[in-house]
Amino acid sequence: VRIPVSWLREFVDVPRSPEQLAETMSLRGFAVEGIERAGKEAVIDFEITANRPDCMSIVGMAREIAAAYGLTVKPGPKLAALATANKADISIAIEDADLCPRYVGAVADVTVGPSPPWMQARLNAAGVRPINNVVDVTNYVLLEMGHPMHAFDLATLARAHIRVRTAKPGETLRTLDGQTRQLSSDMLVIADAARPVAVAGVMGGADSEVTDRTTAVVLESAYFNSLSIRRTSRQLGLKTEASMRFERGADPSLPLAAAQRAIALLHMIGAGRGRGRAIDRYPNKTKAPVVRLRRDKIGGLLGSAVPDKEVRRILQSLGFTLRPTPWGWRVAIPTRRVDVMREVDLIEEVARHYGFDRLPVTFPALTAAPKPVDPRITNARRLRATLTAAGFSEAMTFGFMAVAAAAPFAHVGEVIPIANPLSENFAVLRPSVLPGLLDAVAHNRRREQVDVRLFEIGSRFSRTAGERRAVGCAWTGAGNPAHWSGGSRSVDFFDMKAVVARVCETFGAAFHTAAHQEDWLQRGRAAAVLAPDGSRLGLVGQLTPEIADAHGLPAAEPLYVAELDLDTLEQAAPVRLRIEPLPRYPSVTRDISIIVDDTLAAAEVRETIRRAAPPPLVRIAEFDRYQGKGIPDTKVSLALRLVFRSSDRTLTDAEVHDAMGQILEALKNQHGAIQR
């Protein structure tokens, strides 16, 4: 709210410069957005938190400033009493007292014209455009007292009658901004005998607008239900100075005083004269709530007792009424303070004006043993250490993406749309961390970064599985970095498989891979990563050129990706870590070289060897795979190193020889393997 300092001075003797005032008030809960100067006038722009509608005015801020500096608020201009009557050239009926607890209406004869320059200057300074003297007066009251008002052209109101009711189905209203609004039956309207003339508390109708030809107006000063105004304002997409105040909570005690002030102002600027009477419909008077404030609770919450004298001074200067009791006070809350409902709210008021800076500094004592960190956080940290050591930098990408980016990575129907997305780029929750990662790779690739390794740890979402955590990795460029000694090559499948192995090892989880087909992975270069029980941990492979291209990546350059499910990996990790005794007997190593079909998976060869071999076989390692000269077409030469070792004795040559015989026999029988 923009507060011109000269206007403020009418209500409180501002003791210091606007800058010092801003500094002090920001420590009382009113942050200052800025201070503007125009000639002699300084305008302070205070940020009013949503709970303090009572401060969205000159008088409201004057009250806070007075409390902050130990001053008193000046009474303001004297107002001529306005007699209330049942009928005063108009009639008023509240038909929904829940949505409109109070309605004050008064008729004034007016001569419409521009308002005086001083009034226009103040409105402009406060950020409100002057319209004409009558409307300007209602806005002046709004800015000064914080109470929204409205003026209707009396001549336009059918039968000089005002009905406060909900809209009827199908009713419309052309509002002051020229738009025709469709009204719904839960919206409160002001109507005359025939039709709606205003959306209550939000905006008036164009047909009853005050114009140059207007000679008499009805001044409306009402109090509306905040929730109702908020809903209506949201439904119509219409936020006004009035609706902003009503939806946060206006003061039910103000309507009559606001009407008096408006009439006094009309008179003062020569714009018109009230007819001396007003109608005040207020069927159920709002009572000031009384809240107890216990002395020991103040100290208990703030960490330091506040002297009684200070408590009284602060609360009284803010308009609270205190009745002392042995344990503290019973405090009557002014109706404008919609934010104060409980004891803590009063303690906050005390703390605010006592000063947070005067409270002591202590440290909370531990009264129970701290619990361990969520294992998912420790696991993610270890994973981060593993992957950074493998040359991968951590990326962070958004949890949502465009429909097209998500589509290849999830079955139709599994992707979760966002109901109210900000843009098409954020239309669905990500089904995989990979699309975001690919964008990050593309960003780097476009900026002369040829070798890119990135990973991300984060949640992904699907309709049936809900939220699950995953780690994604992407690698493009060199498999091993260029060096003057030579030996650089492009990244390949086995580089990425090594990363997968590192990730699984981080969790102590065993895994194997099996050929797999996935639309977004290159055929023949894609694998499922499986736990020993066959459950899927994730996928690894080369991205198809089509998807690479869709992300703006050069389609010709290999890009390998992997994504593993962290929730599954954590389940696959061993519960207890047990250490094996170290070997006490020497091992025996034998190499074999066989020729088999080139479609035979290495995993099958291993499996055959493992099944055929007696228990002392402790290791199998492929060390050469060769196709070409000397090997028939569709065949491959495979060389393996086998390591035998017993835990209880030294193996004899004969034992190993027998084992090798069994292994070769099995390879021959099952795969037609020929020993080279």
Partner: protein
Amino acid sequence: MPDSLEHPAIRALRELFDAQLPATTTPQALKSLQDAYVGRKSGKVTDLMKQLGTLPPGDRPAFGAQVNKLKANIEAALDQRRADLAAARPPEGGVDVTLPARDLPMGRVHPLMRVRQQVEDIFARMGYEILEGPEVEDDHHNFEALNMPPDHPARDMQDTLYLGVPIPGGTWGAHTGRLPKAQVRAATLLRTHTSAMQVRYMKTFPPPVRIIVPGRVYRRDNLDLSHTPMFQQVEGLVVGSDITLADLKGTFEAMLRELFGDVRVRLRPSFFPYTEPSAEVDISCQSCRGAGCGTCKHTGWLEILGSGMVHPAVFEAVGYDPEKVTGFAFGLGMERVAMLKYGVDDIRLFYENDLRFLEQFPL
């Protein structure tokens, strides 16, 4: 024989040699120099000796001795030079140690995670439990239990992204082996803060509570210099029988000084629906040491986190007795901390994942 009596021809030759020797840097050049002076057949010293016959007989012994001495000195100097040059050669199998190393690729932890881990470590040492919670939440845990009933104006402060369809909700608690049924609700929105986890925690465990919950949160904000629709938060909660606002002050002073170094800390009253009293916490601006500059909008202070004493309505919603316990809660944005700590002025840099940015952070 004193130098003053040195024969002029000998002296000239000695000085010439002394000047030429340091310029020889290879074995080949040294050999040429040797041949030029003390070569068996020719050579300047040998030539001098040949002049002996032209001298008066009385001078001959002295001259001969001087030439011999010169020859011995030159040969010794050549030997020394040869040894020095040999010593300067790399040994067999030696390498040029100034050539570039082989690259040992090492990635970087994301700066936001770097900051988050630092914050986690600070709180862990203060005895806080660290938890993660689901990013998709339900209205109850994200809003209602935090004193924000439907249509509450404060919901405007956190413009929410809603899911088009409900999905299976948060599974927090699985790792603790006990997951109260009341916590399993269909998720309908992206959490706007990690406070939702505080509700889940309090509904599961009795006080005292001392937790922080780091994680990603979502708001319906457009992407610009200082806003992203997703950002990283660390929220904390302390509940006990006599937790005070003074404890909150002490905790933040300790935490922020560790995070930012020697800064001053101040509290400003503010408003959050789930705390009362509420406070924004500022630190003194490090760029200008509080004098006022562009970074701190000429106030000398930088807003760093939101906090306050837990609202009794929140305690009531989770079944705690607000007459018996008090507590404080806070929320800290990792982007804000990282921007201040590292002098980053565009928040989008954190989400572009440009290696030229990431690699400026140490390992």
